[in-house]
């Protein structure tokens, strides 16, 4: 299928999961993050997310599984399900893409077809994520575009969006 990604290309494009998530939200954020301009340590929202992540599902043993020093999976359940914990469903598309990327990554490593699940403990919701050809093509597009963005000499121009107000990068971009 058009847009699917070959093993060789995947190896060369692979990156961390946060960038895939950011890509679905704001391309400028991808560039800034990639160049070491990280605003997360200053953000109260990010701190909230971290606390939620630490406290949710205390009984699950496999937490923060770092693979290849590159992607960090929040939780693994029963050796076959990857869980990604999010504060709210507001940016569910980005979260879905991030989990799809993890699934693709593990498939590339030879782990076979796994299942992902988005968890929104505060909202008591969950959503299963399976790697479909469409989703895989989206991940491929994201990875290719992330590489293009990282090579830009300056951050991509973007417009002020409502989401900017709550973004950790708000003051850096618009202050």
């Amino acid at each position: 299928m058009e847009g699917l990604i070959e093993d060789e290309e995947f190896e060369q494009l692979r990156t961390n999961g946060v960038k895939v998530n950011y890509w679905a939200i704001c391309h400028r954020k991808v560039w800034l993050y990639a160049k070491g301009l990280r605003m997360e340590p200053l953000s109260d929202r990010v701190a909230l997310g971290r606390i939620l992540h630490e406290r949710a599902y205390p009984d699950m043993p496999r937490r923060e599984v770092l693979v290849d020093n590159l992607i960090k999976i929040d939780l693994i359940e029963h050796e076959s399900k990857l869980l990604e914990v999010k504060h709210s469903r507001k940016l569910v598309d980005a979260a879905r893409l991030q989990v799809a990327y993890y699934l693709l990554y593990l498939k590339w490593l030879g782990a076979g077809e796994l299942v992902g699940e988005l968890r929104f403990p505060k909202e008591r919701r969950k959503e299963e994520v399976r790697l479909t050809p469409e989703l895989e093509a989206q991940v491929a597009e994201a990875l290719r575009d992330i590489q293009r963005i990282e090579q830009l000499p300056s951050p991509p121009q973007v417009d002020f969006m409502p989401i900017c107000r709550v973004c950790a990068y708000c003051e850096l971009c618009w202050g």
């Binding site: 160049k35 340590p41 107000r165 003051e171 971009c173 202050g175």
Partner: protein, 336 residues
């Protein structure tokens, strides 16, 4: 919300069970332990004689707390600037690039000076509207502002700034109700009350600016108006230039004209013709200074209230945007 802690008393700062403690001896040899929640600390200003150990410094570094030290006379002696764990090589390269290219350097340096003079004129205008005779100074400042565009190098910029400041300081005699006229700006050591207050205020502002730069990825040693030097975090000097008239000078005007601080609050240092603030007056000044930093204004783009302190940080972000090619740097100018 993180805040600045100004510690005047002597004692010992300790790390105890992941919290900060200030231990002070009170009467009859008893020791008072005062906890300071580390999450609330943005930076520490040490004026008293404080004992501390490396365990404490590591703890402060872990939480990104900058420590500014002042000597017995209240003069700034240095900062503990913890290792940055949030660095950007890319930005550093850009920072240096804009220093090495003289045209690029001038573009930024000019903005700093222009904004500083703009705020000086603003202060003068305020007093003109209150019937003070400061027209002459305003003319000089405006003339300097007019010549900034043609300035060829940083030295020329500095000269224009120096001329404008000289006229500005002369106007202090109109603005301030002084017993003895304010002759000229003297540093190291300051020779009278006004100079002492300006020096003290400037070093407080310098430290606050350094704290704000710390949270960004800018390297504080690469600067544009001031020459990057080994001794100082000169980018903090650059950026504080913009805010001196608004924060320091106004605080000085306020404490003198309201009679909060007067000649009796100063002492000479031995034989040296230097003047330093007595502890109580220093505390008063710090309180006034800190309340100026906490004053807020509505930011038009962000559509939220920001304090003067945050404005300093936003200035650093603007500089980052300039260096990364996002938008040209326009230094802050009060818009209200």
């Amino acid at each position: 919300m993180a805040q600045s802690y100004y510690i005047f008393r002597s004692g010992r700062l300790k790390r105890k069970q992941n919290t900060l403690y200030l231990e002070q001896e009170i009467e009859d040899g008893q020791i008072r332990h005062q906890p300071i929640p580390i999450e609330n600390v943005r930076d520490l200003y040490l004026f008293g004689e404080i004992d501390l150990n490396t365990k404490l410094l590591s703890f402060l570094a872990q939480h990104g707390v900058v420590v500014h030290c002042f000597n017995y006379y209240g003069f700034y002696s240095g900062s503990f600037y913890p290792r940055e764990n949030n660095v950007s090589g890319h930005l550093l390269v850009r920072q240096v690039e804009h220093y090495l290219d003289s045209q690029k350097r001038m573009a930024i340096a000019k903005e700093f000076v222009h904004s500083a003079l703009f705020h000086i004129r603003r202060n003068l205008n305020y007093y003109r509207n209150r019937g003070k005779k400061v027209d002459e100074a305003i003319d000089v400042v405006e003339a300097s502002m007019g010549r900034l565009q043609e300035a060829q190098d940083v030295l020329e910029l500095m000269r224009e700034e120096g001329q404008a400041r000289e006229a500005y300081y002369k106007a202090f005699n109109e603005i301030l109700e002084l017993e003895e006229p304010f002759e000229k700006r003297v540093r190291r050591p300051p020779d009278n009350m006004v100079n002492a207050l300006l020096s003290f205020g400037n070093s407080l502002l310098y430290a606050a600016t350094l704290s704000e730069i710390y949270v960004t990825q800018l390297n504080p040693t690469v600067s544009y108006l001031h020459e990057p030097s080994k001794r100082r975090f000169s980018l903090a000097l650059d950026i504080s230039e913009i805010f001196k008239p608004l924060i320091v000078d106004r605080t000085v005007f306020r404490v003198i004209n309201k009679g909060v601080i007067g000649e009796e609050d100063f002492e000479a240092v031995g034989e040296v013709k230097g003047i330093y603030l007595k502890e109580e007056a220093a505390k008063t000044f710090v309180r006034e200074f800190e309340s100026s930093l906490q004053e807020t204004v509505k930011h038009r783009k962000l559509n939220r209230h920001v304090s003067y302190r945050q404005l300093i940080r936003l200035e650093a972000y603007k500089l980052i945007r300039h260096l990364l090619g996002m938008e040209s740097y326009r230094a802050f100018k009060v818009w209200w």
